[in-house]
């Protein structure tokens, strides 16, 4: 049915990736090189063949291949990127026809439907990936998103060339001052630009983040723009305090997987005590208007085991988490590879949290509303409980579990650590697959 396939994202959103390639959407999966900011404007990209094809496909009720992650999450009732984007168009799947007809974006869908996918509305919601400058080397990350991992992958490739490709050398588009200047000028000129989400690398570590924000402030447009960014929580930079005040709203996502030392292993070489201390500092800024803080989690086969403790932390501190996707890459870290025994333990832990706090799923639209924090937390816990309880084990699970051991062993040879020091309850499972 149309309401289960349609997404409004290509009518108001686009992504600029780490190397300057434009991409259809922050959730879209496409390995093909795209048009690049070095020689293409955002406006040109927005009416490119790629974007027109995507719009036409969605209008015709197709499920584009690059959107499969969202449809997968939809199938578990989790709030997918597609749901979030529909929400930004004022469209509800539960009352789809009335709300799409009433959407302020309806006229833009209609224009594209009558004009071979052309858009007559500029992207007003952007994700801008600044590059891969990062002080972390999370095991689920990749070299294009972490300069530290980019270096380490050279070693990992020598250890296991089938699991770790030799990293591609590239230069972040933000390192070219002329390109950066031209793109920021285009940003300033976008009528009604509403939202920019900056990603790194580690944005608070990247000078491009501060320089773009300062340009937007100087141009007088910051007060109309909501800025979001995601940090790994290892850095507290005082400059953030003054930036917050200049934008219409500021959304700060803090990437964390657990509140225990396991986080140090996954988000290597993080120091969870330091990160929690930094989070306390960020949370203290919430009293200033316009700052919304959320934890950004991407649970994997290991961290899902300690998700209950993270949920307890969220309830105690009244901070939500946004889980942007169910981890699908690297495949060997997928939650769906849990052993039967571990899976039952995880479900039991999440059931205990649900029972302890009497959590129930409710209809929540705007997850960043401060008065809805308890509901957002409840929904997340219930969503994950239901996902872990009901996912279908992949047919090739044993293959990926064996890969998992090789994947961990390569990292551990490079880093001199051991997962068993962080996840001792997994020993039987890991030994069974050759650890």
């Amino acid at each position: 049915m149309f309401e289960q396939s349609f997404c409004s994202s290509p009518w108001f959103h686009a992504r600029l990736t780490y190397n300057g390639d434009f991409q259809e959407c922050r959730w879209f999966k496409n390995d093909q090189p795209g048009q690049n900011v070095r020689n293409t404007s955002l406006l040109e990209f927005y009416n490119s063949d790629r974007m027109r094809e995507l719009r036409t496909g969605l209008l015709n009720g197709q499920q584009p291949a690059g959107c499969q992650d969202c449809y997968y999450e939809d199938s578990f009732g989790k709030i997918s990127g597609r749901q979030r984007q529909l929400h930004k168009s004022g469209i509800k799947e539960t009352d789809f026809v009335r709300t799409i007809r009433s959407s302020p974006h309806y006229q833009y869908f209609d224009y594209s439907n009558n004009n071979q996918g052309l858009a007559n509305y500029a992207a007003t919601d952007l994700q801008i990936d600044l590059g891969n400058t990062c002080n972390s080397a999370c095991i689920m990350c990749d070299p294009v998103s972490s300069s530290r991992l980019q270096q380490e992958y050279k070693t990992l490739h020598k250890i296991n060339s089938s699991l770790f490709q030799n990293p591609v050398e590239f230069e972040s588009w933000t390192r070219d001052p002329a390109v950066l200047d031209r793109f920021v000028n285009e940003l300033i000129g976008i009528p009604d630009l509403k939202y920019i989400h900056f990603l790194g690398g580690e944005t608070l570590y990247d000078p491009a983040f501060y320089s773009i924000c300062e340009r937007l402030i100087a141009a007088g447009v910051a007060k109309n723009i909501i800025v979001g960014t995601t940090t790994n929580g290892t850095i507290y930079d005082n400059r953030i305090e003054s930036l917050i005040k200049e934008f219409k709203e500021f959304h700060l996502g803090i990437s964390i997987e657990t509140v225990t030392p396991l986080n140090n292993y996954i988000r290597y070489p993080g120091n969870i005590d330091q990160i929690l201390a930094n989070i306390d500092q960020f949370l203290a800024l919430r009293d200033q208007a316009k700052l919304a803080i959320s934890l950004r989690i991407t649970p994997n086969i290991f961290t899902v085991y300690e998700l209950d403790q993270l949920f307890e932390y969220m309830i105690k501190h009244q901070v939500i988490a946004e889980s942007c996707n169910i981890l699908s890459s690297p495949e060997c870290l997928r939650i769906e590879l849990l052993s039967h025994d571990l899976r039952q333990i995880v479900v039991g832990k999440l059931d205990s949290i649900i029972e302890k706090y009497n959590l129930q799923k409710t209809a929540v639209g705007n997850i960043r509303r401060t008065d809805l924090v308890p509901d957002v937390i409840a929904n997340l816990v219930v969503d994950y409980r239901n996902f872990v309880a009901t996912y279908r084990k992949p047919g090739d699970a044993d293959v990926h579990r064996t890969h998992l051991i090789k994947f961990l062993q390569a990292f551990e040879k490079s880093r001199g650590n051991s997962i068993l020091d962080y996840a001792p309850d997994y020993e039987k499972f890991l030994r069974h697959y050759g650890y």
Binding site: M1, L59, K88, S89, F96, S103, G365
Partner: protein, 129 residues
């Protein structure tokens, strides 16, 4: 509104007539008298129900004409549109912002069309991109 839609062209073809079901409930206290209309439709009962086009604005206008006793008043108990609560939840958009009409003044409530876009905004669903 519940037919199966296969593509966007199906959406454009739907009939938007009578897609908003508006229900207004009022109570009069101690003989208060008034004249009230919803989109021109005269309100005579404690519960008034009308159907409007999906994109229709909703205008309620009331004039209290007689308050014979000190405690006399017209009370707006509730306003719903397709089951979604508008009043008392969003009383702040009433002019004046009250649901207890105990003065001989006009009272108005206006919802600009389309209703669902308005509701997304007033119910704090975040920005429309």
């Amino acid at each position: 509104m519940h037919q199966t839609m296969k593509n966007f062209s199906d959406i454009t073809a739907i009939n938007t007539d009578r897609q908003l079901h508006v229900r207004l409930e009022i109570v009069t206290h101690l003989g208060a008298e008034f004249r009230m209309r919803i989109n021109g439709h005269l309100v005579t009962d404690s519960v008034t129900e009308i159907n409007l086009d999906l994109f229709s604005p909703i205008h309620i206008r009331s004039m209290t004409t007689n308050l014979p006793y000190a405690g006399s008043a017209v009370e707006i108990v509730s306003l719903t549109v397709n089951g979604l609560s508008v009043l008392p939840d969003y009383m702040e958009y009433a002019r004046p912002a009250t649901l207890w009409l105990n003065t001989l003044d006009d009272w108005e409530y206006h919802i600009d069309s389309p209703f669902y876009a308005w509701y997304h905004n007033v119910s704090g669903q975040g920005f429309v991109a």
